[in-house]
Amino acid sequence: MRLKTIILIIMLIPLFLVGCYDKKELEQQAYVVAIGVDKTDEKGLYKFTFQIANPEVGSAIVGGGSQEEPKETVSIKGSDILTATNTANSFVSREITLDHTKVLIASEELARSGDFIRIMQSTARTTQIRRGVQILVSKEDASEFLQNINPKMETRPHKYYQLILDRAKETGIIPEAEIHRFFQITEGDADLFLAIYATNKKAKEKDDGYEDEYVAGQLPKEGGNNSQFMGSAVFKEGKMIGTLDGQETRLAHVFDPTLDMDDLLSTYPDPIKEEFRIGADYSQKSSPEINIEYNKNKPTKINVRVPFQIEIIAIPSLVDYSQNKDNKELLKKTIEESLEKKSRELIRKTQEEYKAEPFYWSLYIRKYFKTIEEYEEADWNKNIYPNAEININFDLERLEFGKMLNDSNLTEVRD
């Protein structure tokens, strides 16, 4: 009996010795919500900016301490993200944890330099950075962008990123730009990857654009935050080659069945009174039909049919489109043509300027090849897509006019 007890105790003692080896109390960690990466003058050395959330601000349970800032933004030079966190500990008091990072911000300069893909490698290797982190390209330096983010309504930074990115993605003006998708597309080496484009700096305002024909910085706005999230940065083979504006990004959502968009309110030209525009809610019940007819020696044909529905939400011209059958037909045709025209412009831009598409259409050509070698040989990126004949066909399946059919009769109101 006594021997048994002794053996039991001896067996239990090691538990106390090895216990809790990777245990970390919550308050001993600093939670990074955004990581910024900038170029420096030296090659292989980058400036990393960490935006750290202050847990004490914004939680009701804690009395006092409200004088503190809601976030701390620190920059440090280093060669990769993780080692930089250790260097930053010389002035950040807690262990820097990247588990809760929401966005990874690269400056446009870095993104265009081609070094961006080198930085990204460590994000795939570490368990700390999630694959769902969004990639964002800022027009200015990432450190400057992060320093100047100052949301008025969300005190806590993570909430701000979470809300603005989710909502902007729902409207389709920025793309879904997860790290996972970045690697998927970049390593697939056939399509363009779209990253979120944002800035804190106002560029020259673009006054002639309609609701979504802007890139970040161009919005003619007053009040609110300085930060603008609009449009996307186009990456080809891990290197940024251009930007798409909000409308083009929305169209990319329409053509790419792997992307989701919930809300698309936009305007279309009024076919009868041309100085006005018609506001409509675009919705899509099914994915677009993408048919690729692969021809080895002559241009490939790509037929895209997009079935969609429209609910008219505003007719400022007060023209009767709902009851008048001819007008209705005309409106239908205008909307379809307007969408097709914009799409054709976007397609031309991708074919001529980028020589690749951001719609993930390479998924539909793969079935024509038996081996990967064959597929690589045919070269979707350089050969098939830029030369393809692309036929976009928008098909308005249902046109609704909201809950009121008639607008106010102007002649009666103003008699």
């Binding site: 216990g19 245990k23 919500v33 959330a53 939680s59 944890t97 588990d99 809760h100 999630r130």
Partner: protein, 497 residues
């Protein structure tokens, strides 16, 4: 060497019971010596001359445990007034037993009977005139239900048997008597339905009762510990219930019930985990309502064992799993707390256990103090003193509250001990070690058997049964009796084919 043998022989002869003598004087002397007459205040005797035979008669009994009126009506008056040929013609009480030796006599006097010695007769007679005091039938207080019969077992064996017979009019319902204890012999009744019960299990129950080596087994709570297989195990294997209705439903399924004086309840064997998990109310409520209640209880079962441990594991090892808002809230509240998180949890869990223990033991008039003190420890005061963070209060409150939904007293202790095992294992390597501990615990519990029946049957191993485990079927669809106890008649519906 021979001396030793001799001694043994002597003790042997001494243990042989002395027979009742023909002479009254000798009998009187002997019995007075046995019961320390004179010193023993309530040991009484009456002397009279019987009318029928004109012989001297002496009646011995304990005045404290017999009914004085009954002694007079059933014994004294007939002897003084009636005529007849022999004593049997005179005393016509319902239970008259002939006694030939003093050991029997002692036993009978101890159990509240009066012994009659007649001069010139070497047979004594025992008449049951016992009147033990007991509490009236009360409400079931520890297993409360809203619906269903409210009466509970009381501390009297006969009353308890009557409560069961009242519910089950079956000629096959047998109450088999057995005596346990060497010094003070206590009556134990094994109750079962003869054409349902599994003979193997019945035999095992009888054997275990026979094998009890104790001077005195006062009540069922002690008996349980004598008959269970594994006294050191974490989980109980005998069910104690104070509801006759509950007991009867087990009888109908072929289980065995053990009753005893001095216990307001009964023991049920064999039982499984599900017996402890179920409440009689599950059956008294309609199918959907009863199952909803079980679902809630299962959730409570899970929460009470796991919530503290999971909290420790996630916050200490897997903080990436927390939504950032919650993470920051917890972090903020912990900034001023001086202890590691596992210590915070332990402080509160132990405080809760203290309140619970004190709450049971505290005398009724002082009861309200527990509430006040408890609210201080488990509430805002502890948070304001920066000893614990507010979220811990919620965790402990949930963990404590859900433990009350585990109704059975025995399994409740198992669950509470388990909770501490899980807390420590979660503090060791996070979810990884918590899962390890859970698996080990689960395997251990699955290995337990109650009178040969696996603890998780009929879920695993599976048996033909009503599958009354986590959920129950609609009552009209219950065709089988639980197969894990192998009843003689497994079909429940006599008429259906």
């Amino acid at each position: 060497m021979f001396k030793f043998l001799k001694k043994v022989q002597q003790t042997d002869s001494k243990s042989e019971p002395e027979a009742v003598h023909t002479k009254l004087d000798k009998n009187a002397q002997h019995i007075k010596q046995l019961f320390s007459y004179g010193l023993n205040k309530d040991f009484t005797f009456r002397e009279l001359t019987a009318k029928y035979s004109q012989e001297k008669i002496e009646i011995y009994y304990y005045s404290s445990i017999v009914d004085a009126n009954k002694v007079y009506d059933a014994i004294v008056r007939p002897l003084l007034e009636s005529e007849g040929k022999q004593i049997r013609d005179v005393i016509v009480a319902e239970s008259v037993k002939e006694i030939t030796d003093f050991e029997q006599a002692t036993e009978h006097i101890n159990s509240g009977k009066a012994i009659i010695f007649e001069d010139g007769n070497n047979t004594a007679y025992s008449i049951d005139v016992a009147k033990f005091e007991y509490r009236g039938i009360g409400k079931a207080e520890n297993e409360s239900t809203i619906r269903g019969p409210q009466e509970a077992f009381t501390e009297s064996l006969n009353v308890n048997v009557s409560l069961i017979r009242k519910r089950m009019h079956d000629k096959q319902l047998v109450t088999e008597g057995k005596q346990v204890g060497a010094r003070s012999k206590s009556e134990v009744n094994i109750v079962y339905v003869k054409d349902l019960v599994n003979e193997e299990i019945l035999k095992s129950v009888r054997e275990r009762l026979d094998n009890i080596e104790a001077d005195n087994v006062r009540n069922l709570e002690l008996l349980e510990q004598f008959i269970e297989e594994r006294p050191y195990s974490l989980v109980p294997t005998v069910l104690f219930t104070e509801r006759p209705g509950n007991a009867t439903s087990y009888l109908e399924d072929g289980h065995i019930i053990i009753l005893m004086n001095n216990s307001a309840g009964c023991l049920i064997v064999p039982v499984t985990f599900w017996s402890f998990f179920h409440s009689p109310e599950d059956r008294y409520l309609r199918f959907l309502f009863g199952n909803f209640s079980r679902l809630v209880r299962m959730l409570a079962f899970y929460l009470t064992t796991m919530i503290s441990a999971t909290y420790i594991a996630i916050t200490n090892f897997h903080s990436a799993m927390l939504p950032p808002d919650l993470l920051l809230a917890i972090t903020a509240s912990r900034e001023r707390v001086p202890f590691p998180l596992i210590f915070e949890i332990l402080i509160m869990e132990i405080a809760f256990e203290l309140i619970r223990e004190a709450g049971i033991r505290i005398p009724n008039p002082l009861g309200p103090t527990i509430g006040i003190v408890g609210a201080l420890i488990l509430g805002q005061a502890a948070v304001q003193a920066n000893i614990i963070s507010p979220i811990i209060v919620i965790i402990t409150a949930v963990s404590g509250l859900t433990s009350f939904a585990v109704t059975d007293v025995s399994i409740n202790y198992s669950v509470r001990i388990t909770r501490f095992i899980f807390i420590f294992s979660a503090g060791f390597l996070g979810i990884f070690s918590l899962m390890g501990a859970f698996l080990a615990w689960f395997m251990y519990v699955a290995s337990i058997k109650s009178f040969g029946v696996p603890f998780f049957a009929p879920l695993s191993p599976s048996y033909r049964s009503p599958h009354d485990t986590l959920f129950r079927k609609a009552i009209r669809n219950e065709i089988w009796r639980p197969g894990q106890i192998k009843p003689k008649d497994i079909r429940k519906k006599a008429n259906s084919k």
